[in-house]
Amino acid sequence: MNGIPEPASLLLAALPALAFAGVPLPLLFQRFGRTSAASAAMAVMAACLAVLAPLAAAVLAGQVATFAWAWLPAYGLDLSLRLDGLGLLFCLLILGIGLLVVLYAAWYFPEGDRLGRFFSVLLLFMGAMLGIVLSANLLLLLVFWELTSVSSFLLVAYHGQRNESRVGARMALAVTGGGGLALLAGFLLLGQIAGSYEIPAILENGQRIRAHALYTPMLVLVLLGAFTKSAQFPFHFWLPNAMAAPTPASAYLHSATMVKAGVFLLARLYPALGGTDLWFWMVGGTGALTLAWGAAAALFRNDIKGLLAYSTISHLGLITLLLGLETPLSVIAGIFHIINHAIFKASLFMAAGIIDHECGTRDMRRVNGMFRRMPITATLAIIAAASMAGVPLLNGFLSKEMFFAETVSSPQFVLIGWALPLFATLAGMLAVAYSARFVHDVFFNGEPVDLPREPHEPPRWMRAPVELLVLLCLVVGILPAWSVAPLLEAAAAAALHSPLPDFELALWHGFNRPLLMSLVALAGGVLIYVLRRPLFAWYDELPSVHAGTAFERAHRKLAGGAGRLLATIDNGSLQRYCFLLFCFTLLLGGWAFFSGAASEATIAGHPAEEAAIAALLALLLGCVGATVLHRKRLLALILVSVVGLVVTLTFVRLSAPDLALTQLAVETGTIILMLLILYYLPPTSAPASSAPRLIRDAFIACLAGGAIMLVTLRMLAVPFAPLSGFYLDQALPGGGGTNVVNVILVDFRGFDTLGEITVLAMVALASQALLDRLILRAPDRDADGRPWARDAHPLFLAMLVRPLLPLALAVSVYVFLRGHNLPGGGFVAGLITSVALILQYLANGIAFAQPRLPGKPERWLALGLLLAAGIGVASWPWGRPFLTSTHGELTVPLLGPIGLASAMVFDLGVYVVVVTVALAVLSGLGTLSLRAHRGST
């Protein structure tokens, strides 16, 4: 669309927009009663019809309304809509039958149901259906397609407290949703083949698409989507199970709209995909099979809705077969049958709902003789059923005649020349038979058996929609050229994407072969019904093959198997997870190590120093000792602290003063923390692991250690080009500091650091949550049975530590201030401060320290994060990106010039967070000890 959108395209966009905007209305209005909810839903539909009206005139005159709005152009997904004849036909079905269904539903549901939810979901479904038929973009169509699956799930499961509703809804969602996935794959292929996801472009490129190498897989995938949605054999079984839906939903979804989405798609893509042998055999074959299977199965249903569901399957098969026959006239017949089936089947579902409503059951073995009890409803239902059977003067007869005519007149089916008409007649006979059963069993056939209530005519307005639909059956059936022809011609022209062939919609074509077939079908059908008793007896002897139960059983097995597999893998053992994780990492690393290209080792190493050898020995002593003696916990902890010190010294020697400072401070905090929790952990050591387990773990550990050692040696010998040149060059001019590590942390990679202090803050909050109301028993003896000292805190320590605090704080301020230029900074200064404060706790006891220190860690965390993020945001008013820093020099009396950078405020935020986290964690443990002692004394 270029320039100003025309009114027509705006109206087109308003159509689905109105439907979706109307979704919440029934929920909002249900408080004023169910009539208000129904009125709201009807108002939305009427508004959509009013919007459609001006467009309809133009479309019937042969124009096409379009609307386009770029959504994700990079992926070929645009909000492009298009209304042609086919779309108009479906819009009218969706909105027209929707209105009648809402009117009907308002009377169908029991008094207590307020119906807001039902009507809202119904409107959502309606909007999605409108979206499908209006989409001019394959991907957009798929979005709406899936939305119909989801909303129909909600409608089928409306009575979610009933098991059959849940099972039926789940099955419908699994089958149509699975088909939707196949359809997505098919659409992606189709879009790639055609070079566009726009449907008009695809329809133009039919020649190229059919000649493409990927045509076959693409067609199979697209057909899978269409067949699952339209309940084609062997995916038909979800539809009878979806009959657990409230009958108004069945009348809407399962006769007129959703199940027609599949055949709509076939009709829509027919010009691009049809016209090949593959299309003929797959679409025609599936349609024929479904037609026969559904008709035969319908005859043996005892549930009225079950009969109607299988009949729907059969008629959908008929439509699919017609679309598969690939002649222009057969496509016209298919579209005509879409209209006719929607009309008579919706009225039949509503009639079934009335009978259910009045009798309290839908079992045809019990519901008999209704003609005398509800003559008007019975007359209506009989007319609709006659239309379903293809009795003359009714609309179903016309399209069935066209179908018969196609089977005899199509010249291309030499191979199956006589079989197809015979098959069609047989299917027609079955349709007559099940229609006859419906009419005879329900309305005649003696007296009802053991009904829960006494049936009589339904309320006036509940019957009105049925009356209207049956009237349409008659009008279309008697005056087709006058009533339905313009709409059918527009729709067929759009589906064929070419000029229409000559055809005549008329009741009487003379005495010809199709008429003869119709008569044979009528007579044969009645005969089948007359011979029903031996037939039913034979059917009862058959082994019951029920695709729905098989699916449900397979589904249970799958879910059970998945549960067992999960229970095997995820058995709650951390040891096992860690073991698997290490093994997997080793395998992956080993594979990468041995499969990668070997590079030449060219860097000469540094000669080993004696001090370094001594340090390594100390480290080995520490870590191996801690590992061997890990059951002597205190000793192991002391040995680990030796390792920490050696690591610190390593950083000192290898030119990393910042790391050394940080490691030293963290080391102190960690050891204090471990000592604190050691106090609470059970003093008795666990029994030693079994020998095989020890050997296995030692093996994995040695393998991991050896592998890492090898990788490290390799890495250190290979030359590389560091990124760091930029940082070294830019630290002073760009960041205003000479300590490059600190400048990187607070400036170049400040965003990373902001993330890291956020994680730290989360640790503090999570620790608080974990410690909240935690009561642990304070042990009174240590592991060797010696009682813990209960003395006051030693006076010497207390007196020494108190004057130490201001000194330590002064040091941390100094370290903080110089951090930008010399080793130091927010992290280190924060850790020093926390260690100094924790020392106060240790020396003076929590009872002394806690009241003297600021509480509310969450406020301090927020302050620190706000400082860091705030200084980042502060660069926005200058039009700079987040966390851009600036720096300058300030001359302070006595101290001389001091380099200042805005990044220091960021560093201050880091400092505050680090102090708060360390204090919150350690003082939290301290408070725990206070509670524990109070609890024990």
């Binding site: 870590c623 390792v643 790391l659 079994s690 490290t712 070294l728």
Partner: protein, 108 residues
Amino acid sequence: MEALLATAIGALTACGVFLILRARSFPVLLGLTLLSYAVNLFLFASGRLRLNAPPLVQAGATSTDPLPQALVLTAIVIGFGMTAYLAMLALRGLSESGSDRVDCGDDR
């Protein structure tokens, strides 16, 4: 020096892995600490070893790669946070289950 550092990292990894595979919370914490040392040293070593060349901008002086150091610095602090969190988790687990085992089933 390179061989010494590699040996240290290997030994720390081996001990860390072995301890993490133990059944009680305290050895697992110790193992995690050791493994953190190993990982930090490894990351640090990826900048290659330089003596007497701190990453400070000084006239005429060369300096070592500052980037791994910046990464390791935050890793050390985050490691502390993680240890602290796991320690709390161990205590909470002790209070909920009355045992310091790291998992419910397997106790060997």
